[in-house]
Symmetry: C2
Amino acid sequence: MSHRPKILITNDDGIFAPGIYALWEAMSEIGDLTVVAPDSEKSAVGHAITLTDPIRVQEMNGKNGYSGFAVKGTPADCVKLACRALMKDPPDIVVSGINSGANIGNDIIYSGTVSAATEGTFLGIPSLAISLTSIKGGDMSAAQETSKQVVRKVLKHGLPSGILLNVNIPHIPQNQIKGTRLTRQGNLVFKDKFEKREDPRGKYYYWMSGEHSEDKEEGTDGFAIKNGYISITPIHHQLTENSFLETLKTWNF
Amino acid sequence: MSHRPKILITNDDGIFAPGIYALWEAMSEIGDLTVVAPDSEKSAVGHAITLTDPIRVQEMNGKNGYSGFAVKGTPADCVKLACRALMKDPPDIVVSGINSGANIGNDIIYSGTVSAATEGTFLGIPSLAISLTSIKGGDMSAAQETSKQVVRKVLKHGLPSGILLNVNIPHIPQNQIKGTRLTRQGNLVFKDKFEKREDPRGKYYYWMSGEHSEDKEEGTDGFAIKNGYISITPIHHQLTENSFLETLKTWNF
């Protein structure tokens, strides 16, 4: 690509999260940047879009030239709005992240970070989701380096239609990262539980909490991360389970 | 199954939508029902879950014995909460619908109706999503009959782990429905556009609107519906694109 690539940056932790700022910083070495991100945290919104409410947009100017559009909407809204209304030309690549917390196993179904990349893919734009396993932030340099490396490769090779890359980086010092593994979506699940509480007016409500299972299967995203590797998984959204169609035929509909 | 099956009913149009009432009516012939559904419309919320807010639950008693739990949350929240906190024993089956509007092609990624069934599947419970192509409601009898037929077959045969059924019914008179097609997720997409408006205080906002593309490919969900057939698609959520892993290896990470 001879011209400077146009990079759309988004996330689900919100436009003021440290992760998106770190991504912006890293990407500024590579291309011309447009930041369009939710105005507040939108974790676990999955592939939600906003149909029943108007979508507000506010221009934001931060430190060191960090600027963009803060959207009262979901990550998928942000990508749609950026490509259809806010940007003069569609971007060459959509990069979503750097998420605070891993997006591996079943979690990717709930992930706003991944859904932004999914939306980019639906719009025909090479897209990737980048997550760091720490949910407390911290040192982003390894994630920044990885982002640059993967984005450069995607800009060089392109991605086939309908496929995005889901990238996870273990939160350990950069010199302890053992390398990169090309992985499959593992079987890690979130074992949720609900805590019932009573509010000051005597009414009940619930908090969802829980913990993740462990992924012990070699070749998965979770296994790579646990063993100190960066994980890259190619993801598609053709959900048909072809293998079950034959069985269904015997059900005599 | 010799005992009366326990059926969890949910949707994304909200507990007061005509579709969920029609489903409740149909299912009451088959099993013991628990209704747990959003307290207001949650269309296109995808697989959102509520982590950052408390989840309120209110008991609801409607006409003809229709009762249940109205949840200030998403369809996925409803299924989690029902199975983990509200029901004494987990249900034998989760049925989500009857949605007002088709859930076919790429739309299933955005669909709250499908995501409720996905959540049931993640929890190890046979699950299905049922949608009627009309977005204006209207006669539900064909959708009710289909729901009963499919639910009875699922209760008899079970479903393999990780697979749900996505059922769509064309909104035409029941005697004009030509039969049932076992289909794959088609390529129908929502071509969105944004309308920019100014509010009375001079601030801008956007409305998302648009229209669906047409699905002309035989064998797809959209093609079946368009030609007067009920469409049943088996759906999974293992999103790894294995075919691209080999190519990625040549990228030299």
